[in-house]
Amino acid sequence: MGTDFWKRFKKNKIALAGSCVVILLFVVSIFAPVIAPYDPDEINLKLVLAPPSASHLCGTDQLGRDVFSRMVWGSRISLKVGFVATGIAILIGAILGAVAGYYGRWTDAVIMRFVDIMLCFPTFFLILAVIALLEPSIWNIMIIIGLTGWMGITRLVRADFTSLKERDFVLAAKAIGASDLRIIFIHILPNAMASVLVAATLGVAGAILTESALSFLGIGVQPPTPSWGNILTAGKDNIDIAWWLSLYPGLAILVTVLGYNLLGEGIRDSLDPRLK
């Protein structure tokens, strides 16, 4: 990464479109109290399930709360879940992948078999099974999504390490007596970060999708805390009378996930134009 990367990144339309969406999301969640026209938890029983109008842009829900305000506040949840879950996944994936790739032999064999085993489980099943045992809270959700999403990153980092550890700069570091930890984290890992960055950006998108699905099923973020997924649950309960409850939150998820995917794709293209 360096000036070349930025040059290509700035010219890449996909990357720019993705960045715009992601920056917009950050702005919305940071300034949620200013942007939201109403208190997201303010119940107004005189205005239950009101269709979209000038005063309520996306209508109101079954308790008369303003859907647009709830969606604005819900963006904070998506942002938090996306980053914390992906952070956990990267931490585990990078460490395991680095150790497997660097040490090779049986360490590698054990770690990679464990990856194979974890990949046999339908991820959604694994998440649900663990949630069945815990209280569904936003922190638990983030941790579980992270704990079930590190396998791909482990494979990526391992592949990078297996080839990088034979390179001259690593052999040189070994020759001057650098410790294994130093070689792994200071010398090799920064060189493997490129592919991790792409995987992480796509991972944020995946985590947001998973959280919304869990909240939609009622085992994710619990009401009254607004999340895009649990507004959609209300949409399903009132499917025959209130289409706006189903339409807008899903659109927000779609745009967000699309934004992160485009950004990830853009970073990949800018890192190595040959991969395109």
Binding site: P122, L128, L133, I239
Partner: protein, 324 residues
């Protein structure tokens, strides 16, 4: 060929063992005891009752003994008894619900292949054409769209506004009184939305994969040879190139199994389909541990089987794999 199959089967054994360990650890590392639901939530449960319950589920023994006895039982397909009031064997509860889940997943897999392969091939053959660009956008949106949201929208459109399709269950209320021909039609109508939606998730990925495969193959020397000897472009593309580009797709068949099975939880609860996914969801909500553990295990084993079938079919199709 037989040797290859045997070798693959043997390599599955450690994975299978690993799966059982992960299932077991997941269920036992979590805080709280599985019997909490029946004891703490039940004010009338005495300490004595709790102990008897723990003994009934072997919870009073050390962990490794619990694991060994659990594995011993699942080896003879005994998954224990459900915690729900009916106390029925878990295996039977799951088997009852497995056919509909497998049917929906098989149909959606067929649908994925029938739609994604032509899209991928055409967009590779006509690279950078309008069609290629449109499908490119479709793929991006397809990756990002929450399918449960799409399900809600289609339910509103086809189920409520247009009234063409039913939005819940797998048969109508008057099912038993329908004439035989209509019975089939009734089930088909109920399955259209769930199958389409569960296929939707895989469409984007496979069509993109097929496109890059095809682009790769078209660049090969043997395609140039085929062109050089004067074959028509049709023959070159649809006979020589397509066959080779299709080969790796077999592997995708295996890889898509966990995604499809995992997705069944969402679709079966949205459309109220009495399959394994819905059972899983209900058991998670009721904290019915034996059922949760059983389905988790079966989900992983089905994935393993999917991979085996894919690998064996690949070996059948491509002799190079068998030898190495």
């Amino acid at each position: 060929m037989l040797r290859y199959v045997v070798k693959r089967l043997i390599s599955m054994v450690p994975l299978l063992l690993g799966i059982t360990i992960v299932c077991f650890v997941v269920m036992h590392l979590a805080p709280g005891s599985p019997t909490d639901m029946e004891t703490q939530m039940n004010p009338r449960a005495s300490a004595d009752y709790r102990e008897r319950l723990n003994a009934m589920y072997d919870l009073d023994k050390p962990l490794y003994q619990q694991y060994l006895s659990w594995v011993g039982k699942i080896a003879v397909l005994d998954l224990g008894k459900s915690f729900s009031p009916d106390r029925r064997p878990v295996a039977r509860k799951i088997i009852e619900r497995l056919p509909i889940t497998i049917l929906i997943n098989a149909l959606s897999m067929l649908m994925i292949f029938a739609i994604a392969i032509p899209i991928g091939v055409l967009s590779a053959v006509h690279k950078d054409s309008l069609f290629d660009k449109i499908t490119g956008v479709f793929v991006f949106v397809g990756f990002a769209i929450p399918t449960f949201w799409l399900a809600l929208l289609l339910m509103i459109l086809f189920g409520i506004d247009l009234g063409w399709l039913p939005i819940s269950g797998i048969r109508s209320l008057n099912y038993d009184y329908l004439p035989p021909g209509m019975v089939f039609l009734d089930v088909v109508k109920h399955l259209i939305l769930p199958v389409t939606l569960s296929a939707f998730g895989g469409l984007a990925g496979l069509s993109r994969y097929m496109r890059s495969n095809m682009l790769e193959v078209i660049r090969q020397d043997y395609i140039m040879t085929a062109r050089a000897k004067g074959l028509s472009e049709r023959k070159v593309i649809y006979k020589h190139a397509l066959r080779n580009a299709l080969l790796p797709v077999i592997t995708i068949l295996g890889l898509s199994v966990p995604g499809l099975i995992g997705g069944s939880v969402i679709f079966e609860s949205i459309f109220a389909i009495p399959g394994m996914g819905q059972l899983f969801y209900m058991s998670v909500m009721a904290r019915d541990y034996p059922v949760v553990m059983g389905i988790l295990l079966i989900g992983a084993v089905l994935t393993l089987l999917g991979n085996l079938i894919a690998d064996v079919s690949y070996a059948l199709a491509d002799p190079r794999i068998r030898v190495s």
